[in-house]
């Protein structure tokens, strides 16, 4: 009896060690009409490499968009997820691009991602993608340290002197969400007014930097 008990214990221990997320099950979950995020979340962080694999092997942009949405909902840091999503950072497929832009900050705490999104906000040829990059910068960079957050805010302040009115406008909105304030910056104001307010923001940035 003792031998059986021993064998049973070994079996149970081994089962725990080798418990793996079933890729087929996850594939089924992300392919459903209504994705059960709670069920995917209950698998724990070990689901992330599986999702990344499914993302990279999917040819359908809609499926990729759905998996990006799942990454967003989980909000767990994953290098695999980040690499997978970055494959589509320049896609022209609207649905996929937006999900990728929103999800990247939720799976990483990487300065490079912030810089990519700042670049998209300022320089993408599609105004919708610029706008949604600003949304991602405003609300979805959830894993940043204080120093990284400073860099993000600095990037937004630098965007206030962009030649495009839309960029100045969305940068102002993102700044307001990130810091609670606008310092009265009017994106449509005269160059003189804007320069004066940018100087106030720069002064504020100096104080922020000194607190780090």
């Amino acid at each position: 009896m003792l031998r059986n008990f021993f064998l049973l214990s070994v079996f149970l221990a081994f089962s725990n060690l080798t418990h793996a997320v079933n890729q087929a099950d996850i594939d089924k979950l992300v392919s459903a009409a209504n994705i059960d995020l709670a069920a995917i979340k209950s698998q724990g962080p070990s689901v992330l490499p599986v999702l990344s694999k499914l993302y990279s092997s999917a040819n359908d942009p809609l499926k990729r968009a759905n998996i990006a949405w799942v990454f967003y909902g989980l909000g767990w840091i994953s290098e695999d997820a980040k690499k997978a999503l970055l494959q589509d950072i320049n896609t022209t497929n609207e649905q996929l691009r937006l999900q990728v832009q929103w999800a990247l900050g939720r799976v990483s705490n990487d300065d490079a991602i912030v810089n990519i999104l700042l670049d998209k906000m300022r320089n993408d040829t599609n105004p919708l993608f610029r706008d949604k990059a600003a949304c991602a910068l405003a609300s979805d960079q959830i894993h940043l340290t204080d120093a990284q957050h400073y860099k993000l805010v600095e990037g937004l302040v630098n965007s206030l002197n962009d030649p495009k009115l839309q960029v100045r406008d969305i940068a102002t909105k993102a700044l307001q969400i990130q810091t609670g304030q606008t310092k009265g910056f009017n994106p449509n104001g005269s160059l003189e007014e804007r320069t004066e307010k940018i100087a106030e923001w720069k002064k504020w940035l100096k104080e922020y930097q000194s607190s780090l």
Partner: protein, 539 residues
């Protein structure tokens, strides 16, 4: 019976305190965690925790007395632990916040915040005071910047005293250790958002790592929030709440039913468009556009750009008025409807909408009623009664609402009773088809005609039963009518039936807590209330 404090006595107390140098103040929140019983609820506090996290009363450490609150959470457990509480909204004066904390390891994160009615948005009406312990440092967010304060040691009690000036958006912050040594003394720090504006505070939160990446292990003691204003606070009517849950839900329905919105368009004549003009619209292919605009009476979506086309301009103004009404921007709604009326003075829909917007702007109900009477003589339309009911509910003139919807309600119920089952089933699945009956029920309830309200609910249940459709809504309504009438046995039976059959019935479950409280069963009341609001566990 508790003795009432007279106004004169209160003034005398305040005068004595001032003469003796004691600042008069009102305690908004006070927990030393030594009490045998702490009552969670919508007007005190709520505990949020996952199965792997803990919020407990612990005797391991205490700043004063013998117990403290302990918040404990592990990373990557899909959740965080929170002790969140509520107090009467403060918009002026000084708020003093005092609490002590102790950490047992530096790899812990916790936040402490005081927020207003916009809750956790970084704005003057949202996050105003925000302390964070993270990565060994205690920080505060001021002027949008996270600023380091000092590095607390483990197993040492620190006491935080913050005084927030709500008129200036500045706070003083003083932190001492258990030996009384001052760790930091900061003056005139800008509130978290740094914006000069009007401020609001009505909620506090002690919470773990929101990103779920680090553990939380913190002890709290001697927590108190007070206001420099002196005022009498509304007493708790039952544990954790100033009103019964039944009354809170009733207030919610009053807001919902009293909500003013544009009424459905039937045809193009509603806009004062008749034969010749109609023909011209058809000929110029504008009719479709106009009818699409006419579908916008719900007011959802965004406002619409005003076209140059004179045939479409009045309807566009009206659609924008509906949108503004929906957004509760009543002066904007009035500006738009005035333009619509100026363009088309005799259009029925614009005149009807004007009355609703006037009601939203709190024009006297009886004036509006008289104007609606005149309109009704010009155009006999049942939408006039709908408008009358809406305005009556908004103005809380429930007997007028009763009159407006009563006949329709009885006619509808009669119709339902005689309808073939197939048609009845289809009809009952559409809420708007029995909307008049529902309004009649509420009109009766809010006139305190509880027996009448009970009968309406009972009749509707019979009708639903005949169609073989379960109606938890009307079962609950029957329970509410019984509750207000004081028939708690009947109310409890109705609520229990809803709970048994319907999983999403937290609101109804809480109503049973009210009944157990009234009946003096404190244990059962607490068990139910804590299913939703939870509580500290005891070690």
């Amino acid at each position: 019976m508790a003795k009432r404090i007279s106004i004169q006595s209160l003034v005398l107390i305040i005068l004595c305190m001032c003469v003796n140098g004691v600042k008069a103040e009102t305690t908004l929140v006070s927990y030393n965690f030594d009490a045998d019983v702490l009552e969670s609820g919508p007007d005190t506090y709520q505990i949020f925790r996952h199965k792997n996290s803990k919020a407990e009363i612990s005797e391991s450490y205490a700043r004063t007395g013998y117990a403290s609150a302990h918040l404990l959470d592990e990373p990557n457990d899909h959740d965080f632990v929170e002790f969140q509480g509520y107090f009467a909204e403060q918009k002026s004066g000084f708020i003093n916040c005092h609490f002590s904390f102790l950490i047992t390891n530096t790899n812990t994160i916790f936040h402490m915040a005081l927020v207003g009615k916009d809750r956790y948005a970084l704005s003057p009406l949202g996050l105003n005071f925000w302390l964070t312990y993270d990565n060994g440092w205690l920080k505060h967010k001021s002027d949008g910047i996270p600023k380091k304060i000092f590095q607390p040691s483990t197993y040492v009690w620190y006491t935080v005293d913050a005084t927030l000036d709500l008129s200036k958006g500045l706070y003083n912050l003083r932190i001492t250790d258990e030996s009384g040594r001052v760790q930091t003394q900061l003056e005139n720090q800008l509130f978290a958002s740094g914006i000069s504006a009007s401020y609001s505070l009505q909620e506090f939160s002690f919470v773990g790592d929101l990103k779920d990446l680090a553990s939380t292990d913190v002890y709290l003691d001697d927590f108190k929030i007070s206001s420099s204003h002196t005022f009498l606070q509304t007493q708790l009517k039952a544990p954790g709440r100033k009103k019964y849950f039944v009354e809170m839900w009733d207030d919610y329905h009053k807001q919902l039913v009293g909500r003013l919105k544009c009424i459905a368009v039937k045809n193009i004549e509603d806009f004062g468009i008749y034969n010749d003009e109609y023909g011209r619209l058809v000929k110029n292919n504008k009719l479709d556009v106009l009818m699409k605009l006419a579908q916008l009476q719900d007011g959802i979506g965004n406002g619409i750009a005003i076209p140059d086309d004179p045939d479409l301009i009045a309807v566009t103004f009206w659609a924008n008025a509906c949108h503004a009404l929906n957004e509760k921007d009543f002066s904007k709604a009035m500006a738009y409807i005035n333009k619509a009326i100026a363009a088309k003075p005799n259009a029925y829909m614009y005149q009807l909408t004007e009355l609703l917007i006037d009601s939203a702007n709190d024009v006297d109900f009886y004036d509006l009623s008289a104007r609606l009477d005149v309109l009704s003589h010009e155009k006999d339309d049942m939408r006039n009664q709908i408008a009358m009911a809406m305005m009556a509910f908004h103005a809380k003139k429930y007997s007028a609402a009763d009159l407006a919807v009563g006949t329709t309600a009885f006619e509808d119920m009669d119709k339902f009773r005689k309808m073939p089952l197939v048609d009845l089933r289809q009809l009952l699945n559409t809420h708007s088809k029995w909307g008049a009956v529902e309004q009649y029920y509420f009109a009766a309830l809010w006139q305190q005609s509880y027996a009448q309200a009970y009968t309406v609910a009972e009749d509707m249940l019979t009708i639903f039963k005949k169609a073989n459709i379960a109606s938890y809504v009307w079962l609950e309504r029957r329970g509410d009518a019984a509750f207000f009438e004081g028939d708690y046995r009947n109310a409890l039976a109705a609520y229990d039936e809803v709970i048994k059959a319907n999983q999403n019935s937290d609101g109804v479950l809480l109503k049973t807590a009210d009944i157990y409280h009234i009946q003096g069963d404190a244990i059962k009341e607490r068990v139910i209330r804590e299913k939703i609001y939870r509580n500290f566990s005891r070690r």
